[in-house]
Symmetry: C2
Subunit: 410 residues, 2 copies
């Protein structure tokens, strides 16, 4: 008998029939002798509808009230799934995030989980009942309702699995698992059987979108084995765990791309200590996450600083950046939409000579210009023109022969 | 500076525009220098929609899960009203029933309020902010969410007013106040300026529907002055309070009628101790409320027992009643749909000779047959054929000259 946490997203619980099917799936795990806790997102487009409702009564709804409003979405789907389970003969209790014992840090929207006091869920499972937990939400030490922000239900599920010391955390989604590259871009994309947390983290951050990075981080920290799998069939998906059984020689594990990028270049920045800090603290103050940063050294005591951000943050970033650029005496600020980031990910990439060169060659052979290069221990990213991204991904995938062949061909 | 609790029903918060208007109304009380706590119901038909959703996933949704589901309705409207208030420049915080400190007795649907620990609401008002409380809900001592059942938001408002020692509890509705009789039935119906709790309780129980009986009981117990008024204009409505300034000589204060009644007659009940108890405990066991009960003594050691119930409970009642009737040796059970109850209400009615006779005369003059008569200290009820109810109400209203003339014409 295993303890299993299962997470179902908004599409999986999008209507009565789908909730019925999720209940059957949960029930199958119960029939197999397991103890099951299910975490659910809000039904379908509920969250977007609630946000629209909020904006229909207030131009700028306060975050605190927005959290209270949005939390109802998952409360509805958790109650409905518990009802459907009971209707199918499985005893089940639903819990709001606060009831489940999720203690958050007090940020109304986008809180982190401080602690998961899972006694009530423990007791529910010990009575042989299914626990259904509303994802995406918790309560701070003052009793205020907080939401966990985007991807919050994934994080709820993994944190619950950690608190319960569950054998596995299953994340149900509409794809079969984690692929070497987006199957919509490259037909030869291959599903991976296993992947490490670090690799998954890079893939998730880079736009693979099957599993939220915060959930992966939480899983790594607590050693929770995460199974990303399809809610449409019973085939195994991809296991995310510490020591993946590495396929021999495969260093490049997957390719990710992100097309919602904008590039900003600050030209002629005086080479003085503290200048970069001044720039990026101003941007951080506006709540914008900076992605790639490259500083190129020029002559005459001047540098160019290039960085990328989400294109949605461009206007906000320029607003705070322009006065700072004048203040520090930079010569110019340029920006560019329509850039994309293509990345290869694999544990130990930095220690395999020739991997980076092979990627650059693959792009060069297609005539694709690389604007920025950034590397980490397990990742090499290249910024290119957005309209070339599909060609780039295919070329790199072909170059590293990820489509079923276990050897890395560098 | 007064402390005011205002309650807005589902129609008042039915859409964004109406929520905006409610916020203006709350704001006007703030501008007048008052501290305001607002209690809201779920928007429009939300509760019915949630019930339908529950039945789409489960034939018999468990009460516990239903309470969790339904509680979201008021949470949504409270968050939206707080947003609208903030948008109009009034600081406001919304609270779920559990956050507001409403401790309930553990019945999932139809709980009673055990205690109102209003510290958070107190603190909110003390900071000069409006508190917006989700009606109809609370939390029991195990942290389970309970709903208060029909009329629960009225009860939330009156209980909050008691806990805050508020100067007044305003119940906003779509009528101008409490009328001497339903204005849809009798054009001469007159709005009352004041009415006692007991009178209101009789009128509410009898179908006047502007204010839930439990809320009136709660008001009476804690001495909360309740102001039933229209949300469409600023004219005063009707004050419900202990010592109404009685209009001289007016004993009959109002007329109520209830057309959703069914009559059951058990004929030939052996006159033995415990027989009535046996009958009515069986009916109570089926969860049916019995309204009027009359026992008429017959010859030969037999009685007839007549009583009325809501017509919706008729089948359920007959199912439990028939075996009991056989068991106690009653001769027959008859039932009749299509009966209505017309009642006159007024403090001290029992001590004014001639009032009952005047009512019976008024009905007799119209040729309306009285099937059952029941009286209390402050009420006289007559059961008649449902199709005569409008004539009956008009005749009685005319007889007691409730349309603007202060003297009782007996």
């Amino acid at each position: 008998m295993a303890v299993i946490v299962q997470k179902y997203g908004g599409t999986s619980v999008g209507n009565a029939e789908r909730i019925y099917n999720v209940a059957r799936r949960v029930g199958a795990a119960v029939e197999a002798g397991h103890r099951v806790a299910a975490v659910v997102s809000a039904m379908g487009h509920t969250t977007d509808e609630l946000i629209a409702l909020a904006h229909s009564v207030a131009a700028r709804p306060p975050d605190r009230e927005m959290a209270l409003l949005l939390a109802t979405g998952e409360q509805v789907s958790s109650a409905l799934l518990a009802m459907a389970l009971n209707n199918q003969g499985y005893q089940a209790l639903s819990f709001t995030g606060p009831q489940a014992g999720i203690l958050t840090d007090g940020v109304s929207l986008g809180s982190r989980i401080v602690e998961f006091k899972a006694q009530r869920i423990h007791a529910c499972l010990a009575e042989g009942k299914v626990a259904v937990v509303a994802g995406f939400q918790g309560q701070d030490s003052n009793g205020e309702i907080n939401t966990l922000g985007r991807g919050g239900s994934d994080t709820t599920a993994v944190a619950l699995a950690a608190a319960l010391k569950a054998d596995i955390c299953e994340i149900y989604t509409d794809v079969d698992g984690v692929f070497t590259v987006d199957p919509r871009l490259v037909a030869e994309a291959r599903k991976m059987e296993e992947i490490t947390y670090d690799e998954m983290l890079e893939l998730a951050s880079l736009g693979a979108k099957v599993l939220h990075p915060r959930a992966v981080e939480c899983g790594r920290e607590h050693g929770v084995v995460i199974h990303v799998r399809s809610s449409f069939h019973y085939n195994p998906g991809t296991l995310v765990k510490e020591a993946a059984d590495m396929e021999i020689g495969t260093v490049v594990r997957g390719i990710a791309c992100d097309t919602d990028q904008a590039k900003i270049a600050i030209i002629g920045v005086p080479d003085r200590p503290g200048v970069a800090a001044r720039i990026f603290s101003a941007i951080a103050g506006a709540g914008v996450n900076v992605d790639l940063i490259v500083q190129s050294i020029r002559r005459n005591g001047e540098n160019d600083i290039l960085f990328t951000i989400a294109v949605a943050d461009l206007d906000k970033t320029l607003t705070v950046l322009e006065p700072v650029a004048r203040e520090i005496g930079a010569r110019n600020v340029f920006h560019q939409r329509g850039v994309a980031k293509v990345s290869i990910v694999g544990a130990g990439i930095a220690h395999h000579s020739g991997v980076a060169a092979a990627m650059f060659e693959a792009l060069a052979a297609e005539g694709i210009n690389i604007e920025i290069i950034s590397t980490s221990e397990i990742r090499i990213s290249c910024l290119i023109a957005a309209e070339r991204v599909e060609e780039a991904v295919r070329a790199v995938h072909r170059r590293f022969s990820l489509a079923g062949c276990p050897e890395l061909k560098v």
